[in-house]
Symmetry: C2
Subunit: 282 residues, 2 copies
Amino acid sequence: MCQLLGMNCAKPTDITFSFRGFSQRAGITSDHCDGFGIGFFEGKACRVFIDSQSAVQSPVAEFIRNYPIKSKNVISHIRKATQGKITFENAHPFVRELWGRHWIFAHNGHLHGFTPKLAGRFLPVGNTDSEYAFCYILDRLVERFGYAEPAIQDVFDALEDIVPEIAEHGTFNFCMSNGQALFSYAVTKLHWTVREYPFRPARLIDLDLEIDFSQHTTPEDRVAVIATEPLTNNEMWTAFEPGELRLFEHGRPIRTAQTFIQRLVDEAIDPSLRRITQADIY
Amino acid sequence: MCQLLGMNCAKPTDITFSFRGFSQRAGITSDHCDGFGIGFFEGKACRVFIDSQSAVQSPVAEFIRNYPIKSKNVISHIRKATQGKITFENAHPFVRELWGRHWIFAHNGHLHGFTPKLAGRFLPVGNTDSEYAFCYILDRLVERFGYAEPAIQDVFDALEDIVPEIAEHGTFNFCMSNGQALFSYAVTKLHWTVREYPFRPARLIDLDLEIDFSQHTTPEDRVAVIATEPLTNNEMWTAFEPGELRLFEHGRPIRTAQTFIQRLVDEAIDPSLRRITQADIY
């Protein structure tokens, strides 16, 4: 399995503090060693840095830890390969252009038997279930809106329909951004927190490091951080409900929706199926 | 204007020697200081590193010079901004996915009044004529082949039709790759050379640096290098003819075609138009 990190901010912010803690999970505090990736939006374009080495050992990750890139939307992913080879083709976040913007997507989980026909407009470059699901989401968005860019709230409405359909096929926790906003969804495990005025110190769980954000911020700053597991032990992290879709914009959660996943209901009744799901989670 | 560097190889090769010379042109031996980009294919996926700082000053470029990434297809671009702001949105090489592969494209030149209607399948993220032309090329490829991937030679046939149509609008020198092969085209200025067995020493023009490739290669290595201006002063570089389209695969030129550009004929007759073109070139 993998771990996710997302950041959505009111003003361009550097993610080095959170990324330092997060990347420890790639071999030191956890074993997500099979590559990493991180994407930084600037305007409508996203710069993605990926490597097939772990985020602890990769020179690319070391570069990111030391080179503060300010961005309003960032998504990172550390991988423990369970499906698909360790190649750049399979590295998250995946990128596509739609409506004259980059879209990036990173996934934590497994999908079983999720192979709907794709229109061809977006095709996977690698062979992961994750990239397939991303292509499917984009296909469905084009099917619904054509090539005229919809409002972000309309995209949210569409995701409410599309995403639980995919979640019927397995564990589907993801972060997705188009540079304007960050969409996130969880079936099993994802947490979020908001850092805002008055800022306080934050202490990483995975590394002996504390920062006093009040020394580095202005009252206009506001940062939402989304992570598979909380990154700090003195901030309030909220767990996503199973099937919860959230939209973050300008550094705060602006909308949430509870999607219905039939599989979760069925599995609560049938213990043999529940075991399969448990295996997916850990 | 900008400068281009392309590399197509029989075996994965690192480009650090050529890139060291090339990146000197971003402020030391020339003034292409407004950002740089480089894309490295591994299989069907491409990693692109870009920065809005010059390739001399950028920490990303410094990282690339010191971190040898082996690839069979590489394209780099250093920019002197004349059209479009200096933002990541406007940084070459541009990337799109088509037929389950990344495609990258970098352009040197200006296009005047080139605004054909795009289908929507590929839309520019930034506001350069270059990205617009790239989207147009991909649109036309989809129009011709649909979503079934054609052979590389069939793509070449299609480019023979598409590319001179764009070149009627101005200076259009480019490198484009899908990870299998490298297509390059010149209206005004582009050169190529092949390094192969028996390898010899090569000496950079832009930096006091020489390498003896025979010490670092095997007889199976073969590398085609394409650059706006020759990079070395002791290798044989061949200039592209105006309107020449070339296909490189496995480190060698495998096909060439001479396209017809009506504008060049007209400008040879009308001296006032010729002056406009000269301004484009330098």
